[in-house]
């Protein structure tokens, strides 16, 4: 019997396959299907503090528009007791998810204010989340703000959230740090329980007919996996927090690679969106077959086997390899 179990932060998981935050995990029915098809943990969609603020402002604008302007129509929309502009809906989702499934439920949070991060994280914990993933998705456009200041802010909020909670805290990062390894170390120092590598940015595309910048969603591709493998392989064994890979995990072989790089879990979104909530079944079957075929007994056995520390050719992770690749490419096209 192959042992697929893994330990992600303080969560004992039956296998390393986790459904990452996406619209799929918004529905309790989907969560049930995901559990039935073998997924080991789910991450709920991110609660965006900025969105709560925006929604609050928008609902105020919508209700105020035209109000008290005309004697026959003092208002145009009914005045309800609440418009649920707070996190209540999200907290309710956590609650219902916990009731519906037995696997761990990880809440995801993207805050904008220090107070907001801590407050919503606490509320998520109280609502029953087994762990929290801090989604550090932000686009820093202020030219007067240094990278140091940004990193200080991230570390400080991780520290604050950590000290406010009992449950584990994972941090989902973008790859755009000048010194990723140093940043990982700082987050380790800030007491993060896991690092999730990497966030994918949904960038605007240009509509050149209408001269408009339009939001553009492209699902992940397996070709995005190497970047993640690369960094997990480098970080594995050098820092305390668990490591997770998200982005580019589409097949059982990808899961194997994640584990070999040193990740505790492999997270999927695009593959689930493309193939449906039953897809984990197939991945897990394929994973078991592959491991059987290659005579692996457990996930633990392969974890980190291809990391920077353990790889037979660690130079592949370094600059010299980059130059080698370039020159070989140049040779090929000649």
């Amino acid at each position: 019997m192959i042992d697929l179990t893994t330990q992600y932060m303080n969560l004992a998981l039956k296998n390393p396959l986790v459904a990452s935050a996406s619209p799929l995990t918004e529905s309790v029915d989907n969560l049930r299907h995901l559990e039935d098809s073998g997924i080991a943990a789910v991450i709920l969609p991110s609660l965006f503090e900025e969105q709560l603020t925006l929604e609050s402002v928008l609902i105020d604008q919508d209700l105020s528009r035209g109000a008290e302007e005309f004697a026959e129509a003092i208002t145009y929309l009914p005045n309800l007791e609440s418009y649920n502009t707070g996190p209540e809906g999200y907290l309710e989702l956590i609650h219902r998810a916990k009731q519906a499934i037995a696997i761990p439920v990880i809440a995801s949070l993207n805050g904008t204010t220090p107070g907001g991060w801590v407050r919503y994280a606490r509320e998520m914990e109280q609502a029953g989340a087994d762990a929290i993933e801090l989604n550090l998705y932000s686009i820093e456009t202020d030219m007067h703000q240094s990278s140091d200041a940004v990193e200080d802010r991230y570390c400080e909020l991780v520290r604050q959230v950590k000290t406010s909670l009992k449950i584990a805290v994972a941090v989902k990062l973008s790859p755009f740090f000048s010194s990723m390894a140093h940043m990982a170390k700082r987050l380790d120092d800030a007491d993060a329980d896991a690092l999730v590598l990497f966030n994918r940015f949904y960038q605007a595309d240009f509509d050149i007919e209408n001269l408009e910048a339009a939001p553009h969603l492209v699902l992940s591709d397996p070709c995005e996996l190497p970047l993640r493998l690369h960094w997990v392989a480098i970080l594995y064994g050098s820092i305390r927090p668990s490591l997770a890979i998200t982005g580019g995990v589409h097949r059982a072989e990808d899961v194997v690679k994640c584990m070999m790089a040193g990740a505790q879990v492999a997270m999927m979104t695009s593959a689930l969106l493309q193939n449906g909530v039953r897809y984990p079944h197939r991945i897990l079957d394929d994973l078991a077959s592959w491991m059987t075929e290659h005579e692996y007994d457990s996930i633990q056995q392969m974890r980190g086997s291809m990391s920077y520390r353990a790889a037979p050719n660690p130079g592949a992770f370094e600059r010299s390899n980059y130059m080698k690749m370039l020159s070989s490419y140049a040779l090929r096209i000649r």
């Binding site: 603020t53 609050s56 035209g66 026959e72 129509a73 145009y76 009914p78 005045n79 007791e81 418009y83």
Partner: protein, 1204 residues
């Protein structure tokens, strides 16, 4: 005893009781009673229970007659029921009221009394509606104040059960229904104590039930009807005593005592005034003042008007009464006197009392009634020959009925603080003042009153708030004219309004200014400065917009100004005031989220640091005066009459100034320059592709294009822009796109629709918004010059092309519609295409308000003096009204043709034949016919016979008329549907334009049968559960009706073609036009985008059904839009009416969205199948795909002219 105090308005006061004392509530919106129904619906959704522990059923009907019918049925089946209405709504209930009363059925109708439409519609308050129902057999109970609206509502509900006479409980529309005042609330226990359980059981026992069947509602014959009709007498005889008994029990329960006729004043008064309703307040104040000044006067308040209890009335009058003045708030032309007067005269005669009685009219349509007027009436009673049938409050210089009064007389108590605030609807002033009243009323121990006046515009509306508070209960049911505090929240008002005229000496003034306290003085008009100095006013200023900007409040300056008001007035210690304001903010906006609370709190915290007192110079330095309301170039009528109304001095206009039959000139909106836009569109002639889309979508006709000869530019202002036309045929001419800066509302629809973007800076378009202030003067000159350029020759244009339509003169301009309105572009288009021969029958609603509300009218004329002739009959009868217009036009044409034939010799055989045989199917033919008729008129003027005189009167009808029946979905889908259906069935050549906003927009967004599934609306707070009616398919079922569904933003050419085809079709036409609306809950700048999304999602398929294709064997049904290409949610979730439900009840929203998406698919398949049928209906016709490839290329009316 009841102790719970609240600050509420009269509507809530009455509805609170009605809801709790009812099981079934049938409702229909009508101003000013709509809030009662809305509250009942809200309470039902919130699960509030009545006093029997169940949640009442609140059901919206299709009309007030429907509501009365449903109420009647509910009552017959044993429920306790109520309804709320006013004005025309009450009139529609009258047939059922006779039935309900005739069957001795306990029920209560609560009425916010309002004028009945006569020479004009008015939404304001008087008793003409309730007086029209006084003969129905309902008891009529009148409340004078907010507290009484609450108390007498309870007394009505209790009395009706015991008396078995149904009750109409009324209070004055707006004055009481919308006034905020202190209320001692009745608890459920109070109500339970008042309602007689045995009477309730008896009512239920009388219910129609199959297990104990009876039959009610028989038809009776001459033998017994009369006797049976008299059989109810005993109930009416007993009713007054029952009501008094209930009133007495009420007094025991609550400590508040009422009588059928309540007397106040000197016990030995000689002069008595008799009134009902809110006028009681000012009369009572006057009585107290006069009696303390040595006079002996009294007031008799009539509470139970029907059944009129003669003996109780006689007993209530002091024995010393010598002279009586009866005031009626209604008018019955041709009667001996008004109803209350007649009852008093008859009662005194019957009671054997000898007193001189005079009657008079006052306060029609919320005309102010003040102590000064009441004093004039008492003074009149003192004269040797007091005038009877007088009027008070107006100057009647025609039949000389009016009494003079001294407006300086005042009974205002010195310990009452009086504050007036001028604001814009959009700046939140009224909302903040409502909160201030609640704060003062609850936290200072003061009594408080708030009343709010709005102008008749929906965009840039000026609001005036009147706040009183003091240690004594406030009964002053009239506007403040002596204010201790004046707040002007909009600096631009000062250039056109005298806001200080009501300021008392040493009053405080608070201004929101874009200057520092040191700079501001020189920006104030002469009259303002003069009054500040003469009255020794203290002036405080704040740049509230700067504070709002810094605290992310946008244009909402309400809480900032509110904080300053509390600081200046010193009503509460500063810290307490700020805490109270924040608490009020939390209560008002708490449901909108923390971010909103935070920015409001920030604004409050920032306000005082920016408040400064102005050091007042000792002399007037201003070099400018308040601007005249209309320019000197305006017509005499505009300057003498309309200008006075614009300036807020309409009250002073004498009777002779006003047309006696309600007829007004058109084309007057152009005189009322409102300057409400912060930013206006500015044209970049280099980028413009002259597509005409901006002109087409402009809701206010403020952006226009002309093509003209270049020599006309000789006297052009320096900044006037011009370029080469992008029409091959007109290349040697010039083109200009011009904006009217002072009429623009700044909605930016034009900029949003503009497709031309700069190649080097994508955000820069061919038109861009820019601040109005600096552009106002030069662009006004440019606009004036632009207007002086002659209109382009219509015959050279293709009327079916958007590009050419921009050059057709609009004959509807500068309406008071909302900025970005989705309706007016359609009407404007209508006037561009057919304006000079257009008759419009307009249903009551938004379009009748922005189309016909004084002071000015947007419909206008072309250079020949021709333009739309417009009228509004009612809400419910518009289709029939328009049919009548068609019949009249046709009949006059027939008669004119008969006369032309008869007079062929004298007028000339060739001309007569040409007139009679004219082909008027196209505009060119109509123009030629118009010229022939002009010639006919010229020739006939030289003749003098009865026939020529007759023909002169009707000769105009020889030119083809276009009759359009215009209204909203409330009319077309609901209240007027029966008529609409019938008119379609007549086959008459009328065109019906339904401006479908999918709610009752004018009354504030109540659900109609056009409301889509899943949308939240008033009366559908939980999201509408059922599908929207497909009016198009219903009309198509006749086969001979031209039908089109259009959406300008989804297909502008399609829209134009549909209008042309509908008009060309010689039979009934129905155009259902998607109209985005402020009630949909999003920024109207995106209105056309949403229209497009509605079409792309398949929610609003564009289609036409043209019966003229039938004889050609073609399928008349044409589906003109492509198959759905975006999911419904991408369209609907841009609008708060849908997202609100997704927030508050995501499961229901998801379910309804799913069903709504199925609706879209189902309808699409239906349309697709219908479009694919052959002309004979056997199928195998043209497939949808063929059409959908070319949505705009379908054949419409043959293009005219050669421009294309």
């Amino acid at each position: 005893m009841t102790k719970t105090m609240a600050i509420v308005d009269g509507n809530e006061a009455a509805a609170s009781v009605a809801y709790r004392a009812s099981e079934v509530v049938a409702i229909y919106p009508i101003t000013p009673s709509s809030p009662m129904g809305e509250l009942a619906d809200q309470w039902m959704v919130e699960g509030r229970k009545n006093i029997w522990g169940t949640v009442p059923q609140v059901v919206e009907m299709q009309s007030e007659s429907g509501a009365a019918g449903a109420l009647h049925g509910a009552l017959q089946a044993g429920a306790l029921g109520t309804t709320f209405t006013a004005s025309q709504g009450l009139l529609l209930m009258i047939p059922n009221m006779y039935k309900i009363a005739g069957e001795l059925t306990p029920a209560v109708i609560h009425v916010a009394a309002r004028s009945v439409a006569t020479h004009a519609l008015s939404i304001f308050g008087d008793h003409s509606d309730v007086m029209a129902a006084r003969q129905t057999g309902f008891a009529l109970l009148a409340s004078c104040s907010v507290q009484e609206a609450h108390d007498l509502a309870a007394i009505a509900h209790a009395s009706t059960l015991e008396a078995r006479v149904p009750f109409l409980h009324f209070f004055d529309g707006f004055r009481t229904s919308h006034e905020l005042n202190n209320l001692s609330q009745l608890s459920d226990d109070d109500l339970r104590a008042m309602i007689n359980d045995q009477a309730v059981r008896h009512h239920r026992e009388r219910a129609l039930r199959p297990d104990r069947p009876v039959l009610r509602g028989t038809a009776q014959n001459p033998d017994v009807f009369f006797q049976a009709r008299e059989a109810c007498n005993a109930f009416y005889l007993a009713c007054p005593a029952i009501v008094q008994d209930v009133m007495d029990r009420f007094a025991t329960q609550t400590g508040r005592s009422y009588r059928l006729f309540d007397y106040a004043g000197a016990p030995d008064a000689e002069r008595i005034m008799i009134v009902m309703g809110s006028a009681v307040g000012p009369v009572e104040e006057t009585v107290e003042w006069l009696n303390t000044h040595g006079e002996k006067v009294g007031l008799l308040k009539v509470r139970l008007f029907r059944p009129f209890a003669v003996q109780e009335f006689i007993d209530a009058l002091p024995r010393t009464t010598r002279a009586v003045a009866v005031l009626d708030r209604t008018k019955e032309p041709g009667s001996v006197g008004e109803p209350l007067y007649l009852d008093v005269v008859a009662s005194l005669a019957e009671g054997g009392r000898n007193a001189r009685v005079i009657g008079g009219r006052y306060g029609l349509s919320s005309k102010e009634f003040t102590p000064a007027m009441a004093k004039a009436v008492f003074d009149e009673l003192q004269s040797a020959t007091p005038r009877n049938h007088f009027t008070i409050g107006i100057r009647d210089d025609v039949t000389h009925t009016s009494l003079e009064y001294d407006p300086r007389f005042s009974t205002e108590r010195p310990d009452t603080v009086r504050a007036i605030f001028y604001g814009l609807g959009s700046d939140g002033t009224v909302g903040a003042n409502k909160n201030s009243i609640k704060i003062i009323g609850k936290q200072t121990g003061n009594y408080a009153q708030g009343y709010f006046v709005y102008d008749s515009k929906k965009a840039g509306s000026v609001t005036v708030s009147h706040l009183r508070f003091g240690p004594q209960p406030i009964r002053s049911s009239y506007l403040i004219d002596k204010a201790n505090f004046i707040g002007c929240h909009q600096f631009p008002f000062l250039e056109r309004m005298d806001v200080l005229s009501q300021a008392v000496p040493r009053a405080s003034v608070l201004l929101n200014v874009p200057f520092t306290s040191a700079e501001v003085w020189n920006h104030l008009p002469r009259e303002f400065q003069q009054q500040v100095i003469e009255k020794r006013l203290r002036v405080f200023v704040i740049d509230a917009y700067a504070v709002a900007r810094d605290t992310e409040m946008g244009r909402r300056i309400n809480t900032i100004m509110q904080t300053c008001f509390f600081a200046i007035s010193g009503i509460l210690p500063p810290a307490d005031a700020i805490a109270a304001i924040k608490k009020a903010i939390e209560q008002t906006y708490g449901n909108r989220g923390e971010a909103v609370l935070k920015k409001n709190f920030d604004a409050v915290d920032q306000a005082l640091a920016h408040l400064f007192e102005v050091k007042i110079p000792d002399r007037v330095t201003a070099a400018f005066d308040i601007l005249p309301p209309v320019p000197p170039s305006a017509s005499d009528f505009a300057r003498n009459v309309l200008a006075e109304i614009v300036a807020g001095r309409g009250d002073a206009l004498p009777v002779s100034a006003l047309p006696p039959d309600g007829t007004f000139p058109t084309g007057t909106a152009k005189w009322e320059k409102r300057n409400i836009a912060q930013e206006i569109p500015i044209w970049d002639e280099q980028l413009c592709i002259q597509c005409g889309k901006c002109v087409l979508v402009c809701p206010h006709a403020v952006i226009r294009a002309k093509v003209y000869d270049s020599p006309l530019l000789a006297n052009a202002p320096q900044t006037f822009k011009t370029t080469k036309p992008r029409w091959r045929e007109f290349e040697d001419l010039r083109y200009t796109l011009q904006v009217s800066p002072e009429d623009c509302t700044g909605c930016a629809l034009c900029v949003e629709i503009c497709p031309a973007k700069s190649k080097s800076e994508a955000r820069h378009k061919a038109i861009n918004m820019a601040p109005q202030a600096s552009l106002r003067e030069p662009e006004s000159k440019n606009w004036e010059f632009f207007l002086s350029i002659p209109e382009f020759d219509r015959s050279r244009l293709s009327h079916s092309q958007v590009k050419d339509v921009q050059l057709l003169e609009p004959l509807m301009e500068f309406s008071g519609a909302c900025a970005g309105c989705g309706e007016t572009p359609y009407i404007k288009l209508l006037t561009q295409l057919f304006g000079d021969r257009l008759l419009i029958a307009n249903a009551t609603g938004c379009s009748s308000i922005y189309g016909g509300n004084l002071p000015t009218t947007p419909y206008t004329t072309n250079a020949s003096g021709c333009g739309p002739a417009w009228s509004n009959s009612l809400f419910e009868d518009n289709a029939e009204f328009g049919l009548g217009m068609r019949l009249a036009a046709d009949q006059q044409t027939t008669y004119a043709r008969y006369l032309v034939e008869k007079l062929a010799d004298p007028i000339g055989g060739d001309l007569a034949r040409a007139i009679l045989e004219a082909d008027q199917s196209k505009e060119s033919g109509i123009t030629a016919q118009r010229e022939r008729v002009d010639e006919l008129n010229r020739r006939m003027k030289a003749m003098d016979s009865n026939d020529t005189r007759d023909l002169l009167a009707v000769a105009g009808s020889l030119v083809r008329k276009s009759v359009w029946i215009v209204g909203g979905d409330g009319w077309a889908y609901d209240i007027g549907f029966g008529g609409l259906d019938h008119v379609l069935a007549t086959g008459a050549n009328v065109n019906l334009l339904v401006l479908d906003t999918e709610v009752y927009s004018n009354t504030g967004g109540q659900m109609s049968k056009a409301t889509p599934r899943g949308a939240v609306a008033k009366f559908a707070m939980g999201g509408k559960r059922r599908v929207k009616k497909d009016l198009a398919m219903e009309a198509i079922s006749y086969g001979n009706v031209y039908v089109a569904r259009v959406a300008m933003g989804g297909g502008d050419t399609h829209t134009i073609k549909a209008f042309l085809e509908a008009e060309a079709y010689n039979g009934p036409s129905l155009i259902i036009a998607y109209s985005h609306c402020i009630a949909h809950g999003y920024d109207m700048v995106f209105g056309m985008n949403q229209q497009k999304a509605a079409v792309l999602s398949g929610y609003w398929p564009l289609m036409r059904y043209n019966p003229t294709l039938n004889p050609e064997g073609k399928n008349p049904f044409q589906l003109d839009s492509k198959a759905p290409s975006i999911p419904l949610k991408d369209y609907v979730y841009q609008e708060a009416r849908y997202t609100i439900l997704a927030r508050t009840n995501p499961e229901a929203a998801a379910q309804l969205l799913c069903e709504a998406q199925k609706d879209v698919r189902r309808r699409w398949h239906l349309y697709e199948n219908r479009a694919s049928m052959a002309g004979d209906g056997t199928g195998s016709g043209k497939r949808l795909e063929d059409i959908s490839q070319k949505p705009e290329s379908v054949v419409a009316g043959e293009p005219e002219g050669g421009a294309k």
